[in-house]
Symmetry: C2
Subunit: 158 residues, 2 copies
């Protein structure tokens, strides 16, 4: 039923290529990344509550958000190097709990036939070790659960 | 006489570690990266003229500069993810002639005895191929010549 999440990380390299299709037009998929009121509804695993504390979605802008669950509080921040509507976001990403370990994501948005779309994220980490730590800490689960929430949100809107 | 430039890039990885010492205090070395009037005097190879077209040196800020020589014009831009005075700059970097291929530099500034300092730059590229292209296009020469100009500038100031 749901679209598969494909994470292609070649062992020994410090980057991962993430591919995910969505049953929604590319403009809706992009808007779910651009609008903080939508973004906070799906980003991250499980049922955390996400609070956006800074949002300036443009080339040269930036963001910060805080997620809270029963175990505590997790803050994330970054800058938007490039924003091109319905096409491309290049942004940095830092979990403040691991300060100064900053990754950079090049996220491409592609239109597919039948009102569908594809997200392709080239995610580059500062080292092999940081990528392996992220994987050990549940990167895949976080992305999969987040995109499943995004599926449900997009279905409710279409 | 001059301090060596050490570029440590393990073949098959997409990052390079650059180390360079300077005969100047860490505060002077950092200021040469922070102040656009100083930065434009040393960044880049040879005798290009550098024009800073945007400069907002702070965490969440950004920059853009244009270099001109007899062959043409080369523009570069990025965002500052983190700026910590006399200690750390994390910034993105894009040559606009190769659009959307964005690298990220984590530049640490270290104090050494005798009023000297060390710069350690962990430079992460989007892929092995982009790093190899940058190396083929004279990355090392550009850095070496730039830092030699910086040596002369710092000597004139001390």
């Amino acid at each position: 039923m749901s679209n598969p999440l494909v994470i292609d990380a070649v062992p020994g390299t410090s980057y991962a290529d993430i591919t995910r299709e969505f049953d929604a037009p590319v403009a809706d998929l992009f808007r779910a990344h651009a609008d903080p009121e939508l973004y906070k509804q799906w980003i991250g695993p499980g049922e955390e509550h996400t609070e956006i504390t800074h949002w300036d979605f443009r080339s040269g802008g930036g963001y910060r958000f805080v997620q809270r669950d029963a175990d505590g509080e997790y803050a994330f921040r970054g800058v938007f190097h490039t924003v091109r509507e319905n096409e491309l976001i290049i942004q940095t990403f830092e979990f403040e709990g691991w300060p100064d370990e900053v990754s950079i994501d090049t996220i491409r948005f592609e239109e597919l036939p039948g009102g569908r779309s594809r997200l392709v994220d080239h995610s580059v980490f500062p080292s092999v070790e940081v990528l392996e730590n992220m994987q050990a800490e549940g990167m895949e689960r976080g992305m999969r659960e987040g995109y499943e929430k995004l599926d449900r949100m997009l279905a409710g809107k279409s």
